[in-house]
Amino acid sequence: MTNPIALKLRQIDDRTEIEIKILHPMEPGDALTQKSGTPRPPSFLQSIVIQLNGRTLVEGQLSASLSKNPIFAFSFSGIKAGDKFAVYCTDNKGGEFKSEIVAQS
């Protein structure tokens, strides 16, 4: 099964930015489907954690007021080659997702 999380690192001046793309419906559960009229059940990311070399840098609480297939970006200073970022997400159905990326420079 492919990982729903895709990570990219980029250098902007003296900062390292991490871009986190996550495939997820972010469905609030209050919409009616056109065919059957049955509400779609809620299915959305609830939390995101970004760690650097095992230390937590950002903890986020999320909701279905964020767009489908969200793209987050955060920035950090002092990142060196070999530093490892880990991103963890959970959703409201108990789904857990993880991805890692190592800084090249």
Binding site: R15, M26, P28, D30, Q46, S47, V49, I50, Q51, L52, G54, R55, T56, L57, V58, E59, G60, Q61, L62, S63, A64, S65, L66, S67, K68, P70, I71, F72, A73, F74, S75, F76, S77, G78, Y88, T90, G94, E96
Partner: protein, 131 residues
């Protein structure tokens, strides 16, 4: 120290995310009173063609910023997200919001035990407004 990811899920601010009024959202964040601040950078488009994907960028220049929350006043559930920054992370983020109809987008920052806010309006283009 890493808390188990399942503990993160248990901590989810259900009261705040289920709240239907901005007042109740602010109460759940303990941000009942906040000072308007020019040191919060809030970038959202003035007009959004597509209310389901509205890009937002927030950066706080307030010293000791620990938490940033983002609220879409006129959404059924106004609290969209909140982030806690530690260990040197820049107190800033990019994301995309659902903005159901023209609405103020508010940012609440918690820094050094105090609360600060900034707000901008996003107009959402809709079929009713095409003439």
């Amino acid at each position: 120290m890493l808390r188990p990811i399942s503990a993160m899920a248990a901590d989810w601010n259900k009261t705040g995310f289920d709240a239907r009024s901005v007042a109740d959202v602010l109460k759940s964040l303990n941000a009942g009173s906040s000072a308007a601040s020019k040191s919060i950078q809030l970038k959202v488009p003035e007009i959004a063609d597509e209310g389901s994907v509205v890009p937002v960028f927030v950066a706080s220049k307030i010293p000791n910023t620990q938490m940033i929350a983002i609220i879409v006043d006129n959404n059924v559930h106004p609290l969209a997200a909140s982030f806690v920054f530690s260990n040197g992370a820049d107190p800033a983020f990019s994301a995309q919001l659902k903005v159901r109809r023209t609405s103020a987008v508010k940012v609440v920052v918690q820094a050094g035990g105090q609360y600060f806010r900034a707000s901008k309006e996003v107009k959402v283009a809709s079929a009713d407004m095409c003439s």
